[in-house]
């Protein structure tokens, strides 16, 4: 009996996921939130179904009765998040809330499958993150002085990156984190947000050459420290965020071009200069040749994705634990192996839908500072998704970054929740402004 359930569940999960993804894009056909209400509720039902079926399978296979409890608490907290947002922020963007919850659901499922302990630990962090960030949408525009100290954010960011570089412990050959007690902390994740606020603050004041040079120096310092800490993924993300914010703020395409050219030159120099960059690039070009050394990670990931195929092996039917760092950097491969390529493709589309929604929201913002913040955070989110998924499927070289909201990792989770909450806050205040204006007009 368990056999049949495991086998059929995988098709059910794929169908529900496909419908959910479809709804993500159908939403854009309707303009008022009232018309979209039905879609959002259907999405919630689909998401809960995926969560439920997956945990039934996991319970059957692992025979761990604790999973029932874990499921119940997770289900409750997802439900509470959705309801709380509806009550506290009736104007919130519900597609973003749904996507955020679905990505968390996928994370719950795959982490529980990979490691019960890590899943529980992650879940606690998720709860804390949700509670903390619940206040952010309210605070974002209330605190007016937030835009006044861009240079302070910049210095704070540079300082904490420097501390990590000097004190941090070495993880996977890159200095990324430092530990206080048992709590390991990865500042480059937080600094991303500080960085966006700093660049937005500086560029919203002026985009004259002098100011641009100042911003460039500040960004360069961040990026150089990251490069020397061997955290190439983050360095790339900072760089792209800076170039795009500069382009949007100045409206000069020449900056985009200059960024592209200097980025390419820097890549060539980096390739010549650093052995670990060359190793990564070679492992990307032909991982099969170095299958027992540099190519090991990617080939294991490709085995997982390939053997899983379109429909996947089924939950707990594959061997994703054979992939190194599967819970963080390679979580996408585990998802594709067990839940299938179709499911994984839907996951990519949902991330794209989040990104497009972020960008959509940024277009509606009139205040330059907040508009740049939205663009910056959207870029960071979108580019990070691109780097991590592109890396594990061998579309681009591996950079070792996490999949936001899905990968294991406390700092990454909290940071992404902050990003979603800030954008939610900007959306809420814009729609409030619109409706007051509409009311004034009709008066």
């Amino acid at each position: 009996m368990a056999n049949i359930i495991v086998e059929f569940s995988k098709y059910a999960i794929i169908i529900f996921m496909a419908f959910y993804t479809l709804e993500c894009f159908i939403v854009f056909r309707y303009h008022s939130e009232e018309d979209r209400n039905g879609i959002y509720i259907r999405q919630n039902v689909l998401m809960f179904l995926i969560h439920f079926i997956s945990f039934v399978v996991l319970c059957l296979v692992t025979k761990n009765s604790m999973l029932i409890l874990l499921y119940a608490v997770q289900q409750l907290s997802l439900f509470a998040t959705i309801v709380l947002y509806r009550v506290i922020y009736p104007r919130a963007n519900r597609l973003l809330i749904n996507n955020m919850c679905l990505l968390m659901t996928i994370s719950f499922i795959i982490l529980t499958r990979l490691s019960y302990e890590q899943s529980v630990k992650q879940f606690k962090i998720v709860i804390v993150s949700i509670i903390i960030t619940m206040f952010i949408p309210y605070l974002v525009k209330k605190i007016k002085i937030i835009s006044l100290f861009p240079l302070v954010y910049g210095f704070l960011g540079i300082a904490s990156l420097l501390i990590v570089m000097i004190l941090g412990k070495v993880i996977n050959g890159s200095k990324l984190s430092y530990s206080i007690g048992s709590f390991s902390f990865q500042p480059s994740e937080f600094v991303k947000i500080l960085f966006v606020f700093s660049v937005a603050g500086l560029l919203s004041k002026s985009t004259e050459l002098k100011q641009v040079i100042l911003v460039t120096i500040m960004a360069a310092l961040h990026i150089l420290i990251l490069v020397f800490s061997k955290d190439l993924g983050s360095a790339l993300i900072f760089f792209v965020a800076y170039v795009i914010m500069l382009y949007v703020a100045s409206r000069e395409w020449i900056y985009l071009l200059a960024g592209f050219i200097s980025g390419s030159l820097a890549s060539i120099v980096g390739y010549q200069l650093f052995g670990h960059v060359r190793t990564r690039v070679q492992a990307w070009k032909d991982p099969w040749r170095t299958i027992e050394a540099a190519g090991y990670q990617v080939t294991q990931s490709l085995f997982a994705i390939g053997t899983g195929g379109w429909f996947g092996m089924g939950l707990a039917q594959g061997t994703p634990d054979k992939i190194p760092v599967v819970v963080s950097d390679f979580i996408f491969s585990a998802i594709s192996e067990e839940l299938g390529g179709i499911f994984a493709a839907c996951l990519i589309l949902i991330c794209v839908s989040c990104f497009v929604m972020f960008m959509n929201i940024s277009m509606r913002i009139e205040d330059e500072f907040y508009r740049l913040i939205a663009v910056g955070l959207a870029t960071i989110y979108g580019f990070q998704v691109f780097l991590t998924i592109g890396g594990v499927i061998k579309f681009i070289p591996l950079t070792g970054v996490t999949l936001p909201l899905v990968s294991y990792g406390g700092t990454s989770i909290l940071t992404t929740h902050i990003v979603f909450a800030v954008i939610q806050g900007l959306y809420i205040s814009e729609s409030r402004k619109l409706s007051t204006r509409a009311k004034n007009d009709s008066d």
């Binding site: 382009y247 949007v248 080939t299 490709l302 994705i305 390939g306 009139e366 870029t379 499927i393 579309f395």
Partner: protein, 480 residues
């Protein structure tokens, strides 16, 4: 008011930049998505079949391993279900296809390894598989049809007699491998019992497929390559070449002897090749441009990967711009440190027989579900030209002359036309011991076949390898 308007303008303008960035990112994501689907849909089978992929074991729990067939649907390997529900892999031909079909229990080698994923995948009808899942039964795996031919394999195997060595038979127009014999062999049916014994036996090495992984000095068969290089360097006057052979050739302190010290007297290029005159080829080699020589070897796939999908050893030629005269002379006659696999020699011969065009050698023809519906077809694939059509034509004339008036006259036949090159490769300081080589082809109407043979320590190629080639050619063309 004016200020407001300006502000408004700025905002709409600037949104164009945001829109551009959005389009750019969405385009990137679409590329990535397409690549992802391309990988899963098409590219992934290669990865799945990789021997490093430990996930193949998972499939074995759900599927009964499929059958391996010859080109005429004789069973080479099948899984039998015992009364106690355990499975036994059976190989009806026993020793005959030992390393070529391989085995799947003690690790995997041969076609069992090559087609592992296909054999462990079931493309049976969906309804049946559904029923299997519901009843908790294993599905029936797909069958693999190979290019192998039992009669060719049997003839080659018998003709080799007690000798160690290898025979490979290829259709040069398609690249299909008809026969792949390697001796000593073993009985894959008993692999579980004999494993301990044979896998430590590095001296005899029964697990090694000598046809694809055995590296031998090429001996005089390598003169084909030296000849090609000479022709390339003397496009217009190679026919004017003459040499007076006294049984040996001396350059500085290095001496090259003809086989058994025979003096061939006055020879031209064609006679040098037909009689396999070492002295003449040593003489030719010292006039060659080493750089060019290396390039020709590279064109013929020496010192590099071969375009085949099964395991093989890489051939080696030591020639480069700074090689000493001795190295060049030794290499030119296939001695020294030069090493080549029978497979590689067969590929070069196959390109010559096919007008310069190398058809990629392959063992798998098609994958079918157990109801014989096609799942996947391995079409013939051209690697490209190893040499020009003109060069291939000249080499064909030279190789046909070897049969007409040289070391392989035994192959003259009223039905088919044969061509080739013999070799007796010395492999120890004792000059009387040599590996017997033959590589060549035969054709009749539009049927063409390439045969490459190595017999370890047998003696001269003309005496020991050529008779085997004859039996294989006779067998292949007998039906017509």
């Amino acid at each position: 008011m004016l200020q407001f308007k300006k502000h408004h303008e700025k905002s709409t303008n600037s949104n164009r930049e945001i829109a551009n960035i959005t389009y750019l990112f969405v385009a990137l994501f679409i590329c990535m998505l397409v690549y992802f689907m391309y990988y899963i849909g098409i590219k992934s089978t290669e990865a799945i079949n990789n021997t490093y992929n430990s996930r193949q074991e998972l499939l074995a729990k759900k599927v009964i391993r499929g059958k391996i067939y010859t080109r005429n649907y004789e069973v080479l390997a099948e899984t039998l279900i015992n009364p106690d529900d355990t499975e036994t892999r059976s190989y009806p031909f026993g020793n005959l296809f030992a390393q070529t079909v391989g085995f799947s229990t003690k690790g995997k080698i041969g076609i069992e390894s090559l087609a592992n994923f296909n054999l462990l995948t079931s493309n049976a009808y969906a309804g049946e598989r559904l029923q299997d899942i519901i009843e908790g039964e294993k599905s029936i795996g797909d069958n693999v049809v190979t290019t192998l031919d039992v009669s060719m394999q049997q003839v080659a195997n018998e003709a080799m007699g007690v000798y160690k060595g290898a025979v490979i038979v290829i259709d040069p127009t398609t690249g299909e491998i008809l026969s792949l014999v390697s001796k000593p062999d073993f009985d894959p049916n008993q692999i579980n019992d004999i494993w301990e014994e044979i896998y430590v036996d590095t001296e005899e090495g029964p697990l090694v497929n000598r046809a694809t992984q055995g590296l031998y000095p090429g001996g005089s068969t390598f003169k084909i390559i030296t000849l090609l290089e000479y022709i390339r360097e003397h496009k217009n006057d190679y026919q004017d070449y003459t040499f007076n052979c006294t049984g040996k050739f001396t350059k500085d302190d290095n001496v090259i002897n003809c086989y058994h010290g025979i003096s061939h007297g006055n020879v031209d290029l064609m006679q040098s090749f037909a009689k396999s005159c070492n002295s003449s080829f040593a003489n030719i080699s010292i006039g060659l441009n080493s750089n060019q020589f290396r390039k020709t070897c590279t064109d013929l796939l020496f010192n590099q990967k071969l375009p085949v999908s099964f395991p093989y050893a890489e051939s080696f030629v030591p020639i480069n711009a700074s090689s000493s005269a001795n190295v060049v002379m030794q290499t030119a006659i296939g001695q020294g440190t030069t090493q080549v696999t029978p497979l590689h020699m067969a590929m070069i011969t196959s390109a010559i027989a096919n007008g310069g065009d190398l058809m990629v050698p392959h063992l798998l023809q098609r994958v079918e579900n157990y109801n014989k519906d096609l799942v996947k077809e391995y079409k013939k694939k051209s690697y490209g030209k190893l040499m020009t059509a003109k060069e291939a034509e000249i080499l064909q004339l030279f190789m046909e002359d070897v049969v007409q008036s040289g070391t392989a006259t035994l192959l003259e036949d009223s039905k088919y036309t044969a061509a080739g090159k013999t070799g007796s490769a010395e492999y120890s300081s004792n000059k009387s011991e040599s590996h017997a080589w033959f590589t060549g082809y035969a054709y009749m109407n539009d049927k063409k076949i390439v045969v490459t043979i190595v017999l370890e320590g047998a003696g001269s190629g003309g005496e020991y390898a050529v008779p085997i080639a004859k039996r294989i050619f006779d067998e292949y063309f007998k039906s017509n």
